[in-house]
Amino acid sequence: MKQGAPAETSREKSEIKRPVAVRARDLTMDFGDGAPAVDRASFDLETGRFLTILGPSGSGKTTLLRMIAGFQKPTSGEITVNGHAVDATPPHRRSVGMVFQRLALFPHMTAAENVAFPLKMRRYDPRSVPGRVRDFLDLVKLGDYGERRINELSGGQQQRVAIARALVFEPELLLLDEPLAALDRKLREEMQLEFRRIQHELGVTTINVTHDQREALVVSDDIIVMDGGRIQQHARPVELYRMPENTFVAGFLGVSTFVAGTAFPGGLKSGDLHLSGTHAGEIAEGTPVRGAIRAEQIRIVAAPDSLATCDTAFPSRILDVIFEGERLLYVAESDRLPGVAFQVYHHDTEAFDLYEIGAQVTIGWNARDMKIFKSTA
């Protein structure tokens, strides 16, 4: 599904075709206890781009990353980095920098010694080491903290040391295994932007792993959504959000309401109710499907006639009102679709307490916003 992604951000306007840095083909890791942890994963990553692998816990993200770093030998499949097959290369001979989930900084060394370590191990000219260490500590804004021991640094500062250690030998590839997961939200968001800035400054090809959809959307050029060891979709952030290819992706990013039914041309049929919508790909009439509609694409009003612009509208009753700070989330149910709890965002800050629990309202949406997918289960 690569048709004409619109130029979304400034970075993506320059659509020059760049060489492929990482190529994975049918990468599989089977630990022999049930389903494979990673199942035939194939993707290309262009030089200098920031790819995020997004998926729930246990979906195989770390395993995929560890195969690329060389810590785990794939059961089958192959990886090339800048055109060279790396399967036979031991981890310490690969040009890959990694920031670990729990950072794995060396506790008996200072910040500067941690950053110098890869240079010593990789036999850099000893005279060049101190200057290089200083440059990279400056890059992560830790210029004055080189002599501190690791346990004398705050969580955010330790993150920065780990980034400097992973980048100081100018690897061909940077891997980030959820290093921000343990931070509190404010610091996490700050560090996300730091990752962006540093990646921008050095132009290093990066693979980031996370289960945080917000982080993926904010920092990435490309996103791969994984579930159960399989790649579900590989796309640009906006494309992924607007055009999910299956129910998993639709459900994982954003908040959606699902309606089960059977396909018919131009929509789906649930009981004797026909809902118009947009089919994701070719779906034969009568196939079991699920329609997904995002919470921000449903409109909610008191009087039916003010929804004249919507393709679909019907009366509903408010089941719950949830205050989320910058917006309200209404949960609404209609007698015409029993058992479906519609989730509706409401942003009108002027009229925040418009509807109470039990109030009769009308909800509606446009056919193009109702995405219809083949049922997987």
Binding site: A69, G70, F71, P90, P91, H92, R93, V96, G97, M98, F100, Q101, R102, L103, A104, L105, F106, P107, H108, F117, P118, M121, R122, R165, A166, F169
Partner: protein
Amino acid sequence: MISRTQRILFWAIVWFSIVILSVPTLIVVGASLTAGNIISFPPEGLSLKWYGEIAMARDLRGAFGRSIIVSLICLAVSVPVGTLAGLALTRFRLRFTNAIQVYLLLPFTIPLIGSGIGMMLVFGSWRILGNVWPVGVALAAINIPFIIWSVSSSAASLDGDLELAAANCGAGRVETFLHVTLPGVMPGVITGGLLMFVLAMTEFLVSLLLTDARTVTLPVQIYNNIRSIITPDLAAVSSVFVVIALFAVWLLDRLVGLEIFLKSK
């Protein structure tokens, strides 16, 4: 909230423990300072004459020297073995880890008199009894669980990805071990080593069985002297032991910090 009664009870227990633990030491140190000729507490007058006596006593001095040698041999054996065993049990995924762990802790479960007699028989048949070094090896064997435990607990507190991070930085297996794993567990090695040294200095039962008149170590020598007459010089020797132990604790604090030692499980 802690109630008043709880607080009183708490402090009572604390003080009881402190007194119980320190009274024997205080009495021995006090008795060693006596100016009289029989061991007594409180001492009759104050003098350091018994320290002069033991410094001059050839048998005690010889035994002290042998104890130092035995302890150093014990260290030379137990530090490498205990460190590698402690690391193997925690940092590598081995088969039979549990079985190995139980096997290495066996010395704890066998009464010292049992292992002492066993080693006496074995060393006897090997014709090495009568030397000083087998005593050091024997003490390493019976106390080895202490250093394994100390290294393991230090290793367990290290991040499990540390070796992978080292590999990622370009370090091969040997470099990873020398530059990352070993320095990482150094607090445990130092703690365990000092513990082994102090234990070897003061071990009595097994040493009694493995030594004779020519190879007698300090604790055994003290015991021999008690059997004839109890004089204040024994209190002075015991005080020297106390000083050695205090020195070990001070060294530990300087090298790794006591709080690390106390925190380790």
